[in-house]
C-alpha cells in the first residue's frame, strides 16, 4: 500500500500465481484461457453485468498473464476504490466460469494466436524468451494452436482451484487512500480466501544455440540475449546502469551507433529482463534484409565493448533520466501499484522510492566498470526472423556453436 494524497485516483493490482510457468505439460496457454473464462462473470453478476459494473465505476483496467502470475490491474477515481476492490474480490474468489462460453473463450485464444503470427516482433520475442532461462521461466502465455484445442472445461476449473489462491498472491494498492480503510476492506473481502499451490516447478535447460525463423518480410527482426543478474541480486543496479548506457535515451550507444550514425534501423534497444530466479539482457532491432548482417555486427560490437567500461558523462546522463522516471511515478497510482507488486514478488518487500533513489545515487563508474570487467557480456544467443539467415559464427568469440 502507498498513500499518494495529492492524486485523485487510486489503483490496485491483484496477482495470483497462475503464471504461464504453471501451465501443465501439453496444456500451454491454460493460464491465458483461464483468465479469459474468469472474466466472464462472478458472484451475482453475469459476464455483461460485470463489465457494465466496471464501467459504471469508471474502472480503467487490464488483465495479463506473465510467466509468474495472472495480473488484474484497475485504476479509478479514489472514492470508487472500495467498490472496485469488492468487484475484483468476486472475480478472484467466485468466478462463474460459464460452461456455455468455453468455446467462445477458445476462439478468443485462437484469434490471439493467429494475430500474433502477423506481429513479427512479438513472434521473435516469444522464440527469444524460450532461450533466456531454463524452462518453465521462458514460457509465454499464448500456448499453441494444438494445446489450446485440447483444453477442457475441467482443466480450466482445476486451474482456478489450484492457482487462484492466496499462496504467492499479491494485492497492491496505491493512490489517494486511507490505510485503515483499505486494510479493513481487504480483510473483510479476502479474509476467508484459502488454498496452496503445492506443486514444485521442475527446471529444464533451455534450447541451445541460435535460431532463424524463415519469413517473407521486408525487414529482418534481430534478437540477442545474454545472461545477467536478477532484480534481487546486489549487482543488479550495476548491470542495469551498463544497459542504460547502452540503450536509455537518444544519446545512448546503440541509438547513436546503429541509428544515428549509420541509419541502419528505426527501432533498436536493449533492456534488462528479470524473473525471480534469473536475469538477462535482451536486445532488439528491425532492419531491411540487405542491412541485417551489418546491424547485427554493430549491435554485438557495442554490447561487447561494454566490458571496456562506461564513462562518467554517460552515467551522469543516465542518472538524470532515471531520476525523472522515479519522480514521475508519483504522478501515477497505476504505475506505482504495479511496481510495488513487482517488488513484493521479486524481493519479498516493497522498495520505497527514497531507497531506490539512494541506490541509484550510490552507483558510480568504477563499480560499474569493475562489474563489467568481471562479468563481460557473453554466451550470446541470436534469434532472427526474415528472408535470410545471418552469419552468427563469430557471435561468441568465433567459437563453434
Amino acid at each position: 500500500m502507498q498513500s499518494m494524497p495529492w492524486l485523485e485516483s487510486a489503483a490496485l493490482s491483484i496477482l495470483v500465481p497462475a503464471g504461464s510457468q504453471r501451465d501443465p505439460i501439453g496444456l500451454a496457454g491454460l493460464a491465458g484461457f483461464t483468465a479469459e473464462m474468469v472474466q466472464r462473470g462472478c458472484g451475482e453478476y453475469n459476464s455483461r453485468e460485470f463489465v457494465d459494473e466496471l464501467d459504471r465505476l469508471g474502472v480503467a483496467r487490464s488483465a495479463s498473464v506473465t510467466n509468474d502470475h495472472t495480473r488484474f490491474s484497475a485504476a479509478v477515481p479514489a472514492f470508487r476504490l472500495m467498490e472496485t476492490l469488492a468487484l475484483y474480490s468476486k472475480l478472484i474468489q467466485a468466478p462463474r466460469l460459464p460452461a456455455d462460453q468455453l468455446e467462445d473463450s477458445r476462439m478468443v485464444a485462437i484469434q490471439e494466436l493467429l494475430a500474433m503470427e502477423d506481429d513479427l516482433a512479438q513472434k521473435l520475442m516469444r522464440e527469444l524468451r524460450q532461450r533466456l532461462y531454463p524452462d518453465p521461466y521462458g514460457r509465454s502465455s499464448t500456448g499453441t494452436l494444438e494445446s489450446v484445442q485440447t483444453i477442457t472445461y475441467q482443466n480450466v476449473a482445476d486451474h482456478v482451484s489450484q492457482y487462484y489462491v492466496p499462496d504467492n498472491a499479491i494485492i497492491s494498492v496505491a493512490g489517494n487512500i486511507e490505510f485503515d480503510e483499505v486494510i479493513d476492506t481487504v480483510e473483510r473481502l479476502f479474509g476467508n480466501w484459502q488454498g496452496n499451490i503445492g506443486i514444485q516447478l521442475v527446471e529444464k535447460p533451455p534450447p541451445p544455440g541460435h535460431h532463424h525463423i524463415e519469413h517473407e518480410s521486408s525487414q529482418t527482426q534481430i534478437g540477442i540475449v545474454y545472461p545477467s543478474v536478477p532484480y534481487s541480486h546486489s549487482d543488479f543496479f550495476l548491470a542495469r546502469s551498463a544497459v542504460g548506457v547502452l540503450s536509455d535515451g537518444m544519446s545512448s550507444r546503440l541509438f547513436t551507433e546503429v541509428r544515428e550514425k549509420r541509419g541502419l534501423c528505426y527501432t533498436v534497444y536493449a533492456m534488462c529482463h528479470t524473473v525471480k530466479e534469473y536475469g538477462c539482457v535482451l536486445a532488439y532491432a528491425g532492419t531491411t534484409t540487405e542491412r541485417a548482417q551489418e546491424t547485427l555486427d554493430v549491435m554485438l560490437a557495442e554490447i561487447k565493448k561494454l566490458q571496456q567500461g562506461v564513462f562518467d558523462d554517460e552515467l551522469v546522463r543516465l542518472k538524470a533520466r532515471l531520476k525523472t522516471g522515479l519522480i514521475m511515478q508519483q504522478e501515477s497510482s497505476s504505475s506505482r501499484s504495479v511496481s510495488m507488486a513487482s517488488d513484493w514478488h521479486l524481493l519479498g518487500r516493497v522498495r520505497p522510492l527514497e531507497e531506490l533513489s539512494d541506490l541509484l545515487n550510490q552507483v558510480d563508474t568504477p563499480s560499474i566498470n569493475q562489474y563489467l570487467a568481471a562479468n563481460p557480456p557473453g554466451q550470446f544467443k541470436v534469434v532472427t526472423l526474415g528472408q535470410q539467415t545471418l552469419n552468427t559464427s563469430a557471435v561468441n568469440g568465433g567459437s563453434h556453436e
Binding site: E8, S9, S47, R48, V51, L54, D55, R56, L57, G58, V59, A60, R61, P77, E103, D104, S105, R106, M107, V108, Q111, E112, L114, A115, E117, D118, D119, L120, H215, E216, S217, S218, Q219, G249, M250, S251, T256, R259, E260, K261, R262, G263, L264, C265, Y266, T267, G286, T287, T288, V316, R317, K319, A320, R321, T324, I327, M328, E331, S332, S333
Partner: protein, 413 residues
Amino acid sequence: MSEVTFRTHTLNNGLQVIAECNPHAYSTGIAYFVKTGARDETEEISGVSHFLEHMVFKGTPSRTAEQVNQQLDDIGSQSNAFTSEEETVYYCAVLPEYQLEAVELLSDIMRPLLRQDDFDTEKQVILEEIAKYDDQPPFGAHEKALALHFAGHPLGKSVLGTRETVSALTREQMLEYFNRRYSSGNIVLAMAGNVDFDTVIKQLEIQVGHWENYPTQRDTPRAKPNSGFYSIEKPAAHQQYIIQICNGPAAEDDNRYASRLLGLIFGDENNSRLFWELIDTGKAEYAVVEPTEYQGTGIFLSYLCCQPESTSEILELYQRLATEIQQHGVTQQELELAKSKVCSHIVLRAERAASRMFGIGNNWVQRGEYASVKESINRFQKVTVRDIAEVLEKYPLTECTSVAIGPTKIEHK
C-alpha cells in the same frame, strides 16, 4: 486542483504560448505544436513533414545532432515527436527544475540546420520506418483507406510518404517546405504541470522573438467522402484486417462530444455493441470504432481483425449492427455507462502533466479554446440520447469506405 490556472501569451511575432499551471505538479510538459502535416504537402513531396520532424533533432547552427541528443538526456527529459495529417508536435517531459533548459533546447532545434550528410543518413532511417510498417498489420491498409475515402481531398495524403517519394526528396525541397510552414504565427507552445510561466515568456521573447512571421495557408474544404469495398492481397499475412471509414464531425463541430460517446457505445474495446457480438464470441480478434476530427471534416474509423474465411460474415455482422444503431439509436443506459467511463478516464489521464499538455495543446490548435478538466467532463455529461441520434442522422455509420487486406482477395457484395 483549485490552484490550477490557465495562462496565455502571444509574442510580437505571433507565436502563441499557452499553459495550464499547477504549482504542485511533479513535472513539466512542454510541446511545440506546428500546424503542418501531410495535408499541407503536394504529391511530389509526400512524406516531407514527417522526414522534417526527424531532421529537427539533427542539429542547429550552435548544436550538432549528437549534442542535441546528449543535452536532451542531460536534463533527464522524456522527449519525442510525431507527425499527423495536420500537426507536427515536438515535446518533452522534465522535472520542473529543468524547464527553462528544456524550453531553450526545444526552441533551438525548431530552427534546424538540415545538414546534407545528416539528411542522407536520416533518409535511410525513414525508409526503414516505412519497411517496418510494411511488415506490420494492417500493412498500410489504414493509409490506403484514408486515400480512397478522401480521394482528391488533402486529407487523403500519407503521413510517411512512399519509398519512392521519400527516396526522391531533396534537402532543398525540405528547406523550401520548412520556410513555407514553420512561421512563428503557425506555431503554438503548450505547457502543463509545474510551469514558471513569466520566466518562460521572458526567455522566449529573447530566444524566439525574432522568428519570422509570415502568412501560412491551408485549405479546409468539407470532404466529399466516397464509399465502396476494396480488397488487397498480402500473401504473408495470416489474418484479415479491415479498415472502414465513415464521415464524422469536424474538429470545430459541437457534436464531437456526442460522437465520442457514440464511438464508445458502438465500438469500444471492451464493452460495446461490436465487442459483445464480435470479440466476446471470438468471431473476430479485434473490433474498435473511434472518431477522429480534422479541421473542416472528420471520420469514424473502424478497425477489424478476423480469420480470412470469416471476413464476409464479420462484414455482414458489422453492417447489421450499424443498421440497428442507425435505426434505433442508443439507450439511456448505454449513454450513462459511456459517460462514466469517459469522465473517469479524463480524470485519470489528467494526473500526468504530459497528458494535459497534449490535451490543451490539441484543443488550442484545433479550436483556439481551453477547457479545464471539469469543463471537459461537463460537456460530456450534457450529451443526450437525442444528440447522438442527430450525429447518426448526419453521419451514418452504414456508409463507409472499406479496405480489407489479408492472404487472399475477398469478394464481398
